[in-house]
């Protein structure tokens, strides 16, 4: 099998996280449309948001958004500047480290918060 190098791993992750975020976007807009019908509908949807499953999903979503955003930023830099293209491996590792650190911090706050 051809070796999966840094750039290829990031590309695959970018696609996977992208699809995951679009899936959430559909759910989010859908439920937002329901919530806008009034206080009762709002509360009903909020109750489903409070389930453990949904909250775990939201924490994972944070991870997906962090990676997708950071990697997207790196790609823009790489495609627009020779400086970033020359250092693509370093910058890729930087996106991994930043994504993990921010995920742990952000995820902890999200999980602890009252929803």
């Amino acid at each position: 099998m051809y070796k999966i190098k840094e750039g290829m791993l990031s590309w695959l992750l970018h696609k996977i996280t992208g699809v995951a975020i679009v899936a959430y976007l559909i759910i989010h807009i859908w439920s937002m449309a329901k919530m806008s019908k009034g206080p009762e509908a709002f509360n009903a949807v909020i109750e489903t948001y409070k389930t453990t499953l949904f909250r775990a999903g939201e924490v994972l979503l944070l991870g997906a958004i962090l990676f997708h955003g950071l990697n997207g930023f790196r790609l823009i830099l790489a495609e627009f500047t020779a400086w970033a293209s020359k250092r693509h491996k370093l910058l890729i590792y930087l996106t991994y480290v930043l994504a993990v650190v921010l995920f742990i911090i952000g995820g902890w706050f999200m999980w602890r918060a009252e929803g």
Binding site: G18, L25, A113
Partner: protein, 138 residues
């Protein structure tokens, strides 16, 4: 000026930057200030009547702060912009994946149109919900 991809490429990057700015504001406002931070009361200037209602049902806090936010049409414009930019970027991304991974011409065309259709429906649902939202304030 017949372009077969260059504008789409540029657009995907421009929308990415826009999403970064808009989503940052969106998350900070809706999911932090009005959520865990509970600063909505002060920022939105709730009166004693609101506070009494909210005490009875904490979830209402979010609803009322949302309602107050949407009383200002500027935030409706903001949300419609975010939904538009977000659905474009997201569904164009799905189309780009289909372009790559679906190698059969016919299936690819079908996949593209289904993606456009779902994207459009989601966009309409979102925009209609935001525009038609008439906050029932106390």
């Amino acid at each position: 000026m017949s372009s077969r991809g260059s504008q789409a490429w540029l657009f995907q990057r421009v929308t990415a930057v826009l999403i970064f700015l808009l989503l940052g504001t969106h998350v900070f406002l809706y999911h932090y200030l009005m959520g865990p931070a509970n600063w909505g009361y002060d920022i939105l200037g709730f009166g004693a009547a609101d506070l009494a209602k909210i005490k009875a049902d904490p979830n209402l806090m979010k609803y009322y702060s949302l309602a107050k936010v949407f009383a200002n049409p500027m935030w409706k414009v903001f949300d419609v912009t975010l939904i538009t930019v977000g659905t474009y970027h997201g569904f164009y991304g799905i189309k780009a994946i289909i372009d790559d991974w679906v190698t059969h011409n016919g299936w690819r065309a079908i996949g593209n149109w289904v993606t456009y259709l779902i994207g459009f429906i989601i966009w309409v649902i979102g925009v209609v919900a935001v525009i038609s939202f008439t906050p029932k304030l106390y």
